[in-house]
């Protein structure tokens, strides 16, 4: 089996557990086999620079070219240059999450409308 998504400096991941569920973050450094140092960047995605377990991350296809231990400023610039948020919004995972969110927020009348459609 070939692996295509790697934990590496600049890999964009979605947090899939906890308070920051659904938010994007960038891997800035690897601490050990379980933990990564991650940054939103905070100004764009709202995730603070922190250490996080790989179990809480869902790696995406998107990588950003940043050096090891890049500062938030550098990551913000890279995010804007490579249009990460746009790429994320186009991705199937994001669309699936939006769809699930929409379905969860439907009221009975909306469900009726969907049923007829």
């Amino acid at each position: 089996m070939v692996f295509t998504k790697f934990v590496e400096v600049g890999r964009v991941a979605m947090i899939n557990y906890g308070e920051d569920y659904g938010k994007l973050c960038t891997i800035v450094n690897v601490i050990n086999g379980n933990l990564a140092l991650v940054d939103g960047p905070q100004n764009i995605t709202g995730v603070q620079r922190q250490k996080i377990n790989f179990k809480r991350l869902t790696l995406t296809d998107i990588t950003v070219k940043i050096p090891l231990n890049a500062r938030q400023k550098t990551i913000v610039k890279a995010f804007e240059e490579e249009k990460v948020i746009d790429a994320w919004n186009e991705s199937s995972l994001k669309k699936k999450l939006d769809r699930m969110e929409k379905r969860a927020s439907l009221n009975d009348f909306d469900r009726f409308k969907v049923m007829l459609a």
Partner: protein, 170 residues
């Protein structure tokens, strides 16, 4: 709540007497969960190393030492002295992490698991931040790679909320 080590600096001395009006002050940096245990450890070492007992001494100050750079990954070298079942030994261990307190917690847990050494027999002699080139353990140096890349293998599906957790998944 989870066990959390904090680093304290305890300063104390023998109570001044007529014959010794300005006794020397001693400073101990100790890892403990709270100030009470920090002060207790201070007297433990003062007893053994400086012949000062709690009954004739005073603690002048206890301060918590906080982590200077909690968002920087560092390599910690920790020198330990511990009692095994048949003798007392020195050890050097490395831990990689963002805070010294976190590294110390890892070390105590490791000593418990690998050497069956309980907290009371482990003494932290010295701690230091080691530059990457001087790290001695493969476990630490394997992460010293700016182009590090590895896949996450054997991912187990997990619910995104603790309330959705179930022991058996259909």
């Amino acid at each position: 709540p989870e066990l959390q080590y904090r680093q304290y600096q305890v300063v104390g001395r023998k109570i001044p007497t007529e014959s010794d009006p300005t006794p020397p002050m001693y400073r101990l940096k100790v890892f403990a969960q709270d100030e009470v245990f920090a002060k207790s450890r201070f007297w433990y070492y003062m007893n053994r190393l400086r012949k000062v007992k709690k009954s004739v001494g005073e603690v002048l100050r206890v301060i918590e030492i906080k982590e200077k750079s909690p968002n920087q990954v560092k390599n910690y070298g920790i020198w330990i002295r511990y009692d095994s079942r048949s003798g007392t030994h020195n050890m050097y261990k490395e831990a990689r992490g963002t805070s010294l307190n976190g590294a110390i917690k890892e070390i105590y847990e490791e000593m418990g698991s690998r050497h069956r050494a309980r907290h009371s027999v482990v003494q932290i002699v010295k701690t230091d931040i080691i530059p990457a080139a001087e790290c001695r353990r493969d476990n630490t140096t394997q992460f010293h790679d700016s182009k590090i890349a590895f896949p996450l293998k054997h991912r187990l599906p997990r619910s995104n909320k603790k309330s959705h957790k179930s022991t058996f998944k259909a």
